[in-house]
Symmetry: D2
Subunit: 305 residues, 4 copies
């Protein structure tokens, strides 16, 4: 039986890829085939690799034509149909594609990730197996940047270079301790795996197979590639965006325009836009928006005071 173990070297992956080469009559994405099974590095020890997929841009078109009967129209280009579907939030045809990824990631990232429920997952189990003991250690530049934005109105004190060095030292030492305690309790004291692992910090790396349909994948990407998402999961989302671009070029373009960078405008804000486009000057007091919303509105449409 064919099988594909994780953790192979580049040469081995090429060998296995060659061995697996076979004929299919299924729709095939040539660019995605190029990178099948090849790991893309993420963060310090993580990776993402595509291990399987189903469907192409053509599968979406095909499903839509059954459903919306658009096949009855004579000349309807595939790309503009995909744009149309995305623009009007006809989501079911996008469910017809699937992708399966093998991902290595820290537990705190996995915890955000698995909040997306409409997906299939098999994760490495620390009840049955011994974790590698690799931990995520943020880069120094990240420490400052995230501390700036994730302060949530706390102290006004600046996070400086000396702080960063100390944090790195703490994290390094701490993870070293965790690794040792884990190993000692397992090997010297014969403690159950399921208990020994409770000392492991959420920075420890785990692995999973994750399978999701395209509609739900795009929802994941919209949320997790957003500037509001935590930096670490954004790194993963950005790699998947690159993968999406290779896999489904038309869908990728439509996604960027109609979903990722699209703007959701409330009824009240849309009414303001209409009035402003007719030449009205509007100040906050007359806008009917809350202070926060008015600020968001101005930022979104690059309005000056």
């Amino acid at each position: 039986m064919q099988n594909f173990p994780a953790g192979l070297s580049k040469a081995e992956i090429d060998r296995v890829r060659n061995e697996l080469q076979t004929k299919t009559a299924r729709l095939t994405s040539p660019e995605l085939e190029e990178i099948l099974y090849k790991p893309f590095p993420v963060l310090d020890h993580g990776f993402i690799r595509v291990t399987d997929y189903m469907g192409t841009d053509a599968s979406i078109v095909q499903a839509a034509r059954v459903s919306y009967g658009v096949g009855t129209k004579k000349v309807q280009e595939d790309q503009s149909l995909i744009n149309y579907l995305m623009r009007h939030q006809h989501t079911t045809p996008f469910e017809m594609c699937e992708i399966k990824l093998h991902i290595k990631l820290p537990i705190f990232v996995a915890r955000h990730w698995l909040r997306h429920r409409t997906a299939s997952v098999n994760e490495y189990s620390a009840r049955y197996s011994i974790l590698s003991g690799e931990f995520y250690l943020p880069e120094i530049s990240q420490l400052a940047q995230q501390s700036e934005t994730n302060k949530q109105g706390k102290s006004s004190r600046e996070f400086n270079r000396a702080d960063a060095d100390e944090v790195v030292n703490i994290l390094e030492k701490f993870c070293e301790d965790a690794r040792e305690s884990y190993s000692h309790m397992l090997n010297d004291l014969s403690l159950a795996r399921e208990l020994a692992r409770i000392v492991l910090p959420v920075a420890v790396y785990t692995e999973m197979y994750w399978k999701i349909d395209l509609h739900n994948l795009m929802h994941f990407l919209k949320l997790r590639s957003s500037p509001n998402a935590q930096y670490e999961i954004r790194c993963y989302a950005n790699i998947i965006l690159e993968i999406l671009k290779k896999w489904l070029p038309f869908t990728y373009e439509a996604f960027v325009n109609y979903k990722q960078d699209a703007v959701f405008v409330s009824k009240k804000s849309a009414d303001l836009i209409k009035r402003m486009l007719r030449g009205e000057k509007i100040v906050w007091e007359e806008s009917g928006l809350s202070k926060g919303e008015w600020q968001e509105f101005k930022t979104t449409f690059e309005l000056k005071d």
Copy 2:
């Protein structure tokens, strides 16, 4: 862009299959490739054909090994691992495979079908397109058989050959009328499609693309291939069972033994079995089971009175 229209002749299907042939490094099921896109007839006008799939028996094994760490054990045969997973209801690895079917079926069958919610569907829309006007007409042998079992305690009157003939006449005439009314309201009176279709009986055929993961497919097959399911949907389920056998031979065997023909035994019934296996004679009054459950118990284990 590659595409694959429905309703092709056998020769055309062969031609398209050939055109689509390409290389892939994905796991491939040779037997399923043989029948890809080819329609299997069901009932009088229906069909099922596989239009895409993802994964093989090996994909299940691979996912399980990440998750349950069973890869750490040296010699664990793939087939016995699949048996083990099925026996112990470890369902997530089976979600790693997907299949996409193109199905033509009467609306009353589709209504049962779509009660299975964890699947993706694009159905032909009678709001936007004109339905074919093909109707399901049961065979005479079926009329009697189903009337025997689906009486639900009604009249004891036998359904006879003359009845069957009359029913067939009624159904034929009725469907002819529906077809004419539909067509007349659409074409001569320019009534909206979405309204004209409300005269169509639930015997009318519709089409859909249906994509589902293997775990949910097996649940569907368990319920819809059971003798309790209505005959018409059972015909479809039986075809899909044949497809499953080609696609995933190990999983198919495990499914039959551990799911389709398996027996769910309540705690109380299991206790009865234990006592009987120790040589006790048990009569209903001492069994602790309701009359109906006792009857089911005896039937299941072929006990005499």
Copy 3:
């Protein structure tokens, strides 16, 4: 055991409502309690009634405060928090409320309805029970209006009053025939219920209990109260909107502003708005939009040529 049968008279409903009155420490919506169990008529024979619910606006606030830690902020009004959640598409707190409806509706409406998969349903079964034989008959005014909009580029012929009369005659006669055939095959010929029902047109009424969480309910309402939805399901959606208003007044208001009447603006369109708000004049040729999208853009923001 308490129970609540369908199809009661107004007086009986009041009696049962009184009998059921009891104390609870659960969060309670006073306005929704007023209408509990009372049917709202829809179309010619349909209805909707609330048979149970869980949660109030306060439940959403409570869940959000655990999750987003916004409880740490001192003065955050409940209503503005609900607005904030809706505006930023933080959907999980809205899943904390549930509503259960008892609905009587034609099968073709139920078919659209049940495409919403994240809900629980028990529908009347025509395999086991005999359908009432009530059919939906559209009003004459509707026939013309829908035929105008659901033509899908077909004939330019006007649908006139004489056509409408003929359609109504056809539908009436047809449904009468269906009712008679159904009844004759069941009662005189002892045909199985599951087969006799295949003559019933999709205009026949069925009943169901439908339970859904608030997040998915709002998605349903967004799609099914839209002018693009078929008139008949819109009638149901509009009743549910009234129910929502009584149940969760803050959520209802936020829904209307941020979801139902909100506008989804693509990146390209948002860029156009920015430029126009700075005073640029833009014509289609420079817009980068397709013809159809440009038209939609102008309509949305009420731009003149």
Copy 4:
């Protein structure tokens, strides 16, 4: 607006319970009302409390009667209908009930918990809020017991009392270090919350609101109250079982008999039982079962060698 903050004293809970008391015409479970909002302690720092619910045993009966038309039968007792539904795996009526729990639990337990995807969750966010710094510390008796069963074929060395003491020391010291590092990085170094928390071990407690329907709850309970589940999550499952018993007494009884303690018998094993009940003696070599399955079979039915 009514609201119910977490972390109240017993007296405060009683006061809030009294304040919230109001009338409802919804179906109400008197025994569950008694414990509403009251926390049940689990492990060293955890708890479970019911914060809302919808439906009673009667809601299940009501939904089933619409669907399976069993209402047509005159005398069908509610309890035996619930037994019937559970025995025949008619699961949809059980979806008509919902429960919402507030749970405090260690992260490694939450990770197992949230693998159950068909539920709604709002979890305390360590990106936005500061974690309490309470850690789970297993009892000494547990250390030995779990190490016995979760060894997975590892060393044959016995886990002894001295080992246990050492493990407890390590865990205590380790958690103290984690708490200090976390606090130091947050407060003294102004590190972002989302980064400071990565040192926290998976033994740290978190909180969540968890809402689930009864069908999915029973699936959760079946898996997580099983001896194969890790001890810590079993403690939570056992409390929920007590809650279920108060909430839905008929369903609880049916659950124990037909689900929790029921036995899944493969086709092959069922055939063996039939033969043995007819008096045949069967040895493994003739059984057609694998060695492992034969062993399980003998254990299940208490067969001697």
